[in-house]
């Protein structure tokens, strides 16, 4: 493990290939944590138990587990269905020893837009997670129907008022929606449960369709895109607010999916070093520490 980049991790969704190979490549790149994608766990040829064993054997600590979609605001049978889905994901999250489940804001036209209803469902999700020792990080997708910025995500979280419910920040969505970073001042830093970082290559993503396509195919690592200054500012502000939690690189990129793992991990490592040393100026660990 490279202690210079402690606190930064990669996401399984960034790399191609078998789970074991991805985990080994991250470890070889000096990372000590991994954000786990549910598809990569459920899709393991040996099933979920084999995937859990692979994660435990990797020596990487889980940053979190993702992603529960479209949970909040539903009613009747749709709500009951989503509660079942949430329970299944919480059980996987627990089996993996992951401390956080990421839930992203609903895109569903069937979901209520009432903030009280959204908060009530988030409270329920947090209560489901509570006996399992799991925290819920609620993230505003930049194409979410009602909640599409971290500011409104925080409103819902604050209204729900559960100790194990917080927000997940994702730099992509902040830049895509052009949410003013000053609004971070409104958030209790202790309730930021996860920060995901990525950049992209263009300045404008005006429509939900633009954001979705870019987010799912052409994100890049911090420092590789056109929002490097804003990203550095975001990380510095979070640090100043007192955030000391994990940063995970949430980089969906079709090109990276067809490159050797080592090459992609090197890019991630370069990005983590840029953030740790050039942006945050974190002290270098002592030799042998």
């Amino acid at each position: 493990m490279d202690r210079r980049i402690a606190g930064f991790g990669m996401d399984t969704i960034t790399l191609a290939g078998p789970l074991e190979a991805r985990l080994a490549a991250m470890r070889a790149g000096g990372f000590d944590q991994v954000m786990l994608g549910a598809r990569d766990i459920a899709g393991h040829p040996g099933g979920v138990p084999a995937a859990v064993a692979a994660v435990r054997a990797s020596g990487l600590r889980p940053t979190g587990f993702q992603v529960l979609r479209d949970f909040e605001g539903l009613s009747g049978h749709l709500h009951a269905y989503k509660v079942d889905i949430a329970k299944g994901m919480l059980r996987m999250c627990q089996a993996l020893g992951s401390p956080v489940l990421l839930a992203c804001s609903s895109t569903s036209r069937h979901a209520s837009q009432d903030l009280e209803a959204i908060a009530r469902d988030l409270r329920k999700l947090a209560t489901l997670a509570l006996p399992l020792g799991i925290r819920i990080a609620y993230e505003g997708l930049s194409w979410g129907r009602t909640i599409n910025e971290f500011t409104t995500a925080w409103e819902a979280v604050a209204l729900a008022d559960c100790p194990n419910l917080g927000i997940g920040l994702d730099s992509f969505h902040i830049f895509a929606a052009k949410t003013p970073i000053d609004a971070l001042e409104e958030i209790d830093p202790r309730r930021i449960f996860l920060v995901q970082l990525s950049d992209f290559m263009w300045h404008e993503t005006p429509t939900f369709e633009d954001r979705m396509t870019t987010a799912r195919t052409f994100r890049v690592f911090p420092g590789e895109g056109v929002h490097s200054e804003a990203l550095a500012d975001l990380v510095l502000r979070l640090h100043a607010l007192g955030y000391r939690g994990d940063y995970s690189f949430e980089v969906f990129n079709d090109d990276y999916q067809q490159l050797p793992l080592e090459m992609v991990v090197q890019r991630a490592q370069r990005s983590a070093l840029w953030l740790a040393e050039d942006v945050l100026h974190l002290p270098r660990p002592l030799p042998g520490a």
């Binding site: 209803a117 409270r123 209560t127």
Partner: protein, 290 residues
């Protein structure tokens, strides 16, 4: 707001809680545990109709010893030590109590009721423990239906030194206090007691009172992160006694031993029995008779 979802106002006692109906141990060694309980004054009074489950009682306190293989497996994972596997709460309406908890995000616990047995609604609690909701305790009780009295035994043995349930102590993970406080407050209407109000000789952690004021619930975090074994569980039962020294003397005569060390020894406020079978100890807490 949709019409098919309940409105859930904050009521002071949302489940209509009225005390503890029972506390259950799961064990693979029911006879060894039975000896420990009998020394404490609990006597076996009834046997379950279909499963290897015994009811012990003294005064108003019911203790269930569950040696049913499926349930006792939980005990096997604890190195064969008995575990506190369930708490039964007396409520106004058991089905409604469970429905409310499920609506708020509790996990439903499975029932093993067989024909002609009561289906007692339950939810998951900490670790593998279950919380049952019992509404048949006034005119007749769950014990009348699912249990057969042991012949020739007093069904209501008197309590040693006037003791009764005081509460339950739960061990929780590091920094998990706020989580569990929220859980019990939201689901059951428990209320946190200020840190300067404590009872007995083991005051660590957070203390909550049931909305019926019938019992207390104590949440204890590890001393430090290195002491966190990652397992959250119901740890022990606390028993209220109007005169702790008299109760200690009465129990000592029955062979019960108490922790008696410089840091912790029996006094007027309370006492702790020496753990038996690796996990079973009882805390006595002074509480004036009402």
């Amino acid at each position: 707001m949709s019409t098919d979802r309940e409105a859930l106002p904050d009521l002071p006692n949302p489940l209509g809680l009225e005390g503890l109906a029972f506390v259950e141990y799961a064990t693979l060694r029911p006879q060894a545990l039975g000896q420990v309980l009998e020394a404490m004054g609990f006597l076996p009074v009834a046997r379950h109709r279909s499963r290897e489950v015994l009811l012990y009682r003294q005064g108003d306190m019911n203790l269930v010893v569950n040696a049913n293989p499926d349930d006792a497996r939980a005990s096997a994972t604890e190195d064969g030590r008995p575990v506190l596997s369930a708490v039964g709460f007396r409520v106004q309406d058991a089905r409604l109590a469970q429905a409310r908890c499920l609506e708020l995000g509790a996990w439903e616990a499975p029932s093993h009721a067989r024909a002609m047995e009561l289906l007692i609604p339950a939810i998951h609690g900490p670790g593998g423990a279950h919380f049952f909701f019992v509404d048949r305790w006034r005119d007749f009780s769950i014990w009348d239906i699912d249990f057969v009295p042991i012949p020739g035994v007093d069904p209501r043995p008197a309590a040693v030194a006037g003791s009764r349930f005081f509460g339950v102590v739960q061990y929780i993970g590091t920094q998990r206090g706020p989580d569990w406080l929220a859980f019990y407050e939201r689901l059951f209407g428990f209320c946190e007691i200020p840190d300067d109000q404590r009872f007995g000789v083991l005051p660590a952690g957070k203390l909550m009172r049931s909305p019926c004021s019938g019992f207390l619930w104590q949440l204890v975090e590890p001393l430090g992160p290195d002491d966190d074994d990652g397992r959250e569980r119901l740890q022990r039962i606390a028993i209220a006694a109007p005169d702790v020294p008299a109760a200690v003397a009465a129990l000592r005569r029955r062979g019960v031993q108490f922790v008696d060390a410089a840091q912790l020894r029996p006094d007027d406020r309370g006492a702790l029995t020496t753990p038996q079978l690796g996990s079973v100890s009882f805390e006595l807490v002074h509480l004036s008779a009402e």
